[in-house]
């Protein structure tokens, strides 16, 4: 069990965005969190990566309580997060952005004496290969298409050598074709790099095609958790997703 949350709770005003969530993620899994809009998926990620303070509960990663660690430490420990809206460095090139994450993970971010230009080139090239961005290596972040920006987001995350990768709606805003390609990509580097992936998604076809385990959130609570077949046949899930299920 690589990640475990215990009674994780976040309240906004009177609204329980995340309500006593107990989630287990197994090492090596591709685990999906699904739920309608407002179910609390992004808030959950925000709590795990300490973008927000939790009101109650704990987050345990590889046996260690990481609940109150500052975000950069959580990242260094191996929990890396991709944002829902592609949040990249507009002025750095693709290679440079990834390189920054790589150097940061290697603890070299405070190095003041060597020119960055040639550091860790092969690792960066590897990651760009894995995310299909090699031909865009010298393109600036803001010149990329939306789909490429999302892949850059992935590449930057890989630069931090994650053990657990949190993907917040990785295919949001993508066409059918791009969605398929992206999920193939993710599956690809996951297999090669031995990562655990926890992702949130709206699109049911994506989820049932790739996830080994699914957790369903509704109004901040878990209403189902298990292998895809179980979840698909769960009555409460069907009710919540009436009309939405693929």
């Amino acid at each position: 069990m690589i990640l475990k949350t215990e009674k994780l709770t976040k309240v906004f005003g009177g609204l329980k965005a995340v309500d006593k969530v107990d989630l287990d993620v197994q090492e090596g899994d591709i685990h999906a969190i699904i739920g309608p809009n407002g179910a609390g998926k992004s808030t959950f990620f925000n709590l795990v990566t300490h973008y927000l303070d939790q009101d109650e509960g704990r987050v345990i990663f590889k046996g260690e309580d990481i609940t109150n660690l500052p975000p950069h430490r959580i990242c260094k420990k191996g929990v890396v997060r991709c944002f829902q809206r592609a949040n990249i460095y507009p002025m750095l090139t693709v290679a440079e952005s990834v390189q920054m994450a790589v150097l940061s993970q290697q603890g070299k971010a405070l190095n003041m004496f060597r020119p960055t230009r040639n550091m860790s080139r092969s690792e960066v090239a590897d990651i760009l290969d894995n995310t299909d961005l090699s031909e865009h290596a010298d393109v600036r972040g803001d010149a990329l298409s939306h789909g490429d920006k999302k892949r850059l987001e992935l590449a930057i995350a890989l630069g931090n050598r994650p053990d657990l990768l949190l993907l917040d709606e990785p295919t949001a805003g993508m066409s059918r074709e791009e969605t398929r390609a992206t999920m193939e990509l993710i599956k690809g580097f996951r297999d090669r790099m031995n990562l655990t992936i926890l992702f949130t998604e709206h699109d049911m076809s994506v989820v049932f095609g790739i996830a080994r385990r699914i957790t369903v959130l509704h109004q901040g609570c878990i209403i189902a958790d298990g292998i895809p077949e179980e979840v698909r046949n769960n009555e409460e899930v069907q009710q919540v997703y009436l009309g939405v299920e693929a």
């Binding site: 990566t49 500052p70 975000p71 950069h72 430490r73 990242c75 260094k76 890396v80 997060r81 944002f83 949040n87 990249i88 460095y89 507009p90 002025m91 750095l92 090139t93 440079e96 920054m100 994450a101 150097l103 940061s104 993970q105 070299k108 971010a109 405070l110 190095n111 003041m112 004496f113 060597r114 020119p115 960055t116 230009r117 550091m119 031909e135 865009h136 010298d138 393109v139 600036r140 010149a143 990329l144 298409s145 490429d148 930057i156 630069g159 931090n160």
Partner: protein, 334 residues
């Protein structure tokens, strides 16, 4: 409100290969200048060199980190005062006093930075200004220690008293300092500052503790200002409270803007031009503030990116620049 950002990746004005070719003739010129001009201009060029460090100090925080500091003079002034006070009250030799001056200036930057880096945006700028003004008032009012508005005097040691001697001494310190600065801003640390500038929300999530980097940058900038301070005090034969305050800090800001904050050499060019203008205009008229005010306004309105920034744009547009442009996606597709 949409805000037009003219952030650019801060790069050397010349590519490294070009810079290497220019370096030798440039240094040669620097060495020959004092023998070709009258003493007044040797003083001016010395001042240009010292002010370059001051401008670079400002720009580490503004151009690279994206934080506007209106208070770099506080560290320049404190360093100058420390140098003189150490020299007056202890009998340590001059070199040790220099080092003490720089370190104490850096210490003041550490203290101020601890508070300032907790803030962001306009609050940061205002706080740095407050620190500078506080330094001004402390040196102004603490008559018994700092001699108040009269300031303190110092003569450089005998071997440095000639214009030429002090000039080469200054170069011997400034040039390595600028080279070190180049390594600093091109290092992973320098890159991390740009990351913090361009996307402060994302940067913790690639594993960087933003506040630590900001504080380190603040102290380094303070050290550069302090270095300028210990070079300036003996050159100027003394310091006074006005070297610690908001207006002197504003000079560093002006130099940066004038030369171009998003290039490496911009602040240096800005310092050179500013010092030249100061020397030149002061001979003609007493209305220096009016002159520099108009120049800065014009630069901000019409020459975004300062002198070097604007030049860079012009070169990029011409044939020269084509080879340097990164290939965008549209152009790459056959």
């Amino acid at each position: 409100m949409r805000i037009m950002s003219f952030f650019g990746k801060t790069v050397p004005f010349f590519s490294s290969r070009q810079a290497r070719w220019l370096l030798v003739p440039f240094v040669a010129v620097l060495v020959l200048i004092p023998f070709l001009v009258e003493e007044f201009w040797v003083h001016v060029v010395t001042e240009m060199a010292i002010m370059s460090l001051f401008a670079l100090s400002f720009n580490l925080l503004f151009g690279y980190l994206g934080c506007l500091s209106f208070g770099q003079a506080a560290y320049l002034g404190v360093a100058g005062y420390s140098l003189i006070l150490m020299h007056m009250h202890t009998h340590l030799n001059f070199v040790l006093c220099l080092i003490a001056g720089v370190l104490i200036g850096g210490l003041w930057a550490l203290i101020a930075g601890y508070f300032c880096t907790r803030l962001s945006g306009i609050y940061f700028a205002i706080m740095t200004l407050v620190v500078a003004e506080a330094t001004f008032y402390i040196t102004f009012e603490w008559y018994s220690f700092t001699n108040g508005p009269n300031g303190l005097q110092i003569m450089p040691p005998a071997i440095l008293r000639g214009a030429l001697n002090y000039y080469f001494y200054t170069l011997a310190i400034v040039i390595p300092a600028i080279v070190a600065y180049w390594f600093l801003v091109n290092s992973p640390f320098g890159r991390s500052l740009q990351c913090i500038r361009d996307n402060p929300d994302k940067t913790p999530y690639i594993g960087i503790l933003v506040r630590k980097h900001m504080l380190i940058a603040f102290v380094i900038a303070g050290l550069y200002a302090a270095l300028a301070g210990v070079l300036w005090a003996p050159f100027n034969r003394g310091v006074s409270p006005w070297y610690c305050g908001m207006m002197k800090s504003g000079d560093a800001v002006f130099m940066g803007i004038l030369g171009g904050v998003y290039t490496f050499a911009g602040p240096i060019v800005g310092a050179v031009i500013w010092t030249f203008l100061d020397a030149f205009v002061s001979r003609i008229t007493e209305y220096w503030p009016l002159t520099i005010g108009f120049i800065i306004l014009l630069v901000i309105l019409f020459m975004r990116g300062g002198i070097l920034g604007t030049l860079k744009e012009k070169i990029k547009g011409s044939r020269w620049g084509q080879a340097e442009k990164p290939v965008s996606r549209e152009e790459a597709a056959p």
